[in-house]
């Protein structure tokens, strides 16, 4: 019962934070001057190596598995299109979001949480500065741009490594691999995945900010907020993935 109450308490607080973030869009001019670019820089360049590494291995694994499942049932010449669609629609956006949730979501919760327990957020309020506009809005806006950008990087990397693996493990030459992609590529595969990643960007940054603002009880509280941010955003990403997939591809 207590856990249920706590769940609804956080859901309410999160919704209020979302509304306050939307309200703070009035002052978007102040955000775009400096903090937005700073967040873009931190989020993108800090995450690119991790995203590339994850995409390399997911490209390799997917190719090898398709080779295994498809042998004897489906023409392996179409392994390219199978991997590309899987990567663009599902693996690219979701894996990137889960990786970024662990890095950026946790970072946001820890940073804002520390500011909460050391009275830095109170200090902002005392100066007449809206902490939501100052801390949350730049992160959410940056997340909305960075997640699709990182997803494109992940898609390209996974498809490229998959084409090499297809040649190496299954014996499908690279030109046939890409020919298959060209033949069956539908723009919806790409933009659908990017729309998903845009929503994942909002989820990761909003959830991280919420747990940061909800932090209490010193260093222990910061640790708990960080863990909660990663767990909550991962669950929300998987839930939102289902909803968005049904809305876009059904």
């Amino acid at each position: 019962m207590k856990s249920l109450l706590l769940f609804f308490e956080h859901l309410g607080m999160g919704t209020l934070l979302l509304l306050r973030t939307l309200k703070s869009l009035r002052e978007i001019g102040k955000v775009l001057k400096h903090p937005f670019w700073e967040q873009m820089d931190v989020m993108f360049f800090g995450s690119v190596p991790l995203v590339i590494l994850t995409a390399v291995f997911s490209g390799l694994v997917t190719t090898v598995q398709i080779g295994y499942y498809g042998r004897g049932y489906a023409p392996l010449d179409y392994v390219g299109v199978a991997v590309a669609k899987m990567v663009m629609i599902e693996l690219g956006p979701v894996l990137t979001a889960l990786i970024v949730a662990g890095r950026i979501g946790a970072g946001i919760a820890a940073e804002i949480g520390t500011m909460r327990v050391t009275e830095q957020i109170d200090s902002l309020e005392c100066m007449g500065i809206d902490p939501v506009r100052f801390l949350v809005l730049p992160r959410v806006l940056a997340g909305m741009v960075i997640l699709p950008a990182l997803t494109i990087v992940a898609d390209l990397t996974a498809i490229l490594t998959s084409s090499i693996a297809a040649d190496f493990y299954i014996g499908v030459p690279t030109y046939i691999y890409f020919h298959g992609i060209r033949l069956f590529f539908a723009p919806k595969d790409l933009w659908g995945g990017l729309i998903k990643s845009l929503f994942f960007g909002i989820i990761i940054t909003m959830v991280g900010s919420h747990w940061g603002f909800a932090t209490e009880k010193g260093a222990t509280g910061v640790g708990k907020a960080t863990t909660s941010a990663v767990v909550t955003s991962s669950l929300f990403i998987i839930f939102a993935d289902y909803i968005l997939t049904v809305m876009i591809y059904r």
């Binding site: 009275e119 830095q120 109170d122 200090s123 309020e125 500065i129 809206d130």
Partner: protein, 247 residues
């Protein structure tokens, strides 16, 4: 003028403030004295609306701050500087940017004006050389002085100090006391200081109030402190006397 009328505040079952009535007159330095955990900081945070009372009113310059819009509250806060106990400096910014923050956000000042005003207030707290250090590179006393500079930079009418000398050595404490006296007398800033440091209280205060058990038990001019009968207040004075005798 700041006025608290019958302010009550509880956290869960714990009643921290049980009907506080207090007036802070413009230009004075009021010290709120009390033992640790008596709700002094909670009381101070009510004045800027960081904490809302369960019952009662907090009036700043004639406005009940708990009955106004957020935008109006931010406007009122811009006329109040708040010096937090730990300084509450922004870790990711250097001293200069920390102090400049209220001016940068105001958007009325040119870069040159901001630089002049920041260096001026850093000069007042004797920290011009530390302008480009990060907060992590500062000592406790320096952090407090940067926090005072930041509270001062927008030239507020009021400055609220939360335990400004706690955790500092006696020499730095005395420098902070001198600084508060100077700001009060030279710039005419109204100050409210929360402390349990009786030595500091007797140096800087025009008036001292004692917060105990959630109410104001003593409210006296500094010149009349030795005539107060309250046993808890006399305990504070005894500590002060003992220190003086050792000196």
């Amino acid at each position: 003028m700041i006025e608290l009328i019958d302010v009550h505040k509880s956290f869960g079952k714990k009643e921290v403030l049980r009907g506080v009535n207090l007036k802070v007159v413009s230009g004075e330095c009021l010290v709120i004295l009390g033992r640790s955990g008596t709700g002094k900081s909670v009381l101070l945070k009510h004045i800027v609306g960081l904490i809302q009372p369960n019952r009662g009113k907090v009036i700043v310059d004639g406005v009940d701050i708990n009955r106004i819009s957020e935008a109006r509250l931010y406007e009122i806060r811009r006329n109040i500087g708040f010096v937090f106990q730990g300084g509450a400096l922004f870790d990711s910014m250097d001293v200069f940017t920390n102090v400049a923050m209220p001016l940068i956000e105001n958007e009325k000042f040119s870069d040159k004006e901001i630089e002049e005003r920041v260096m001026h207030v850093l000069g007042l707290v004797d920290l011009q050389d530390a302008a480009f250090l990060m907060p992590s590179e500062l000592s406790g006393g320096m952090r407090k002085r940067v926090a005072i500079a930041r509270a001062l930079v927008a030239e507020p009418g009021y400055i609220l100090y939360d335990e400004p000398t706690t955790g500092l050595d006696p020499i730095i404490s005395d420098r902070i006391n001198d600084l508060m006296i100077e700001l009060n007398s030279q710039l005419g800033v109204t100050s409210v200081v929360v402390t349990h440091d009786i030595h500091s209280a007797l140096r800087i205060a025009d008036r001292i109030v004692l917060l105990s058990n959630g109410v104001i038990k003593v409210n006296t001019k500094r010149s009349d402190v030795w005539n107060v009968d309250d046993p808890e207040f006399r305990d504070f004075l005894r500590v002060f006397k003992a220190l003086k005798e050792i000196e």
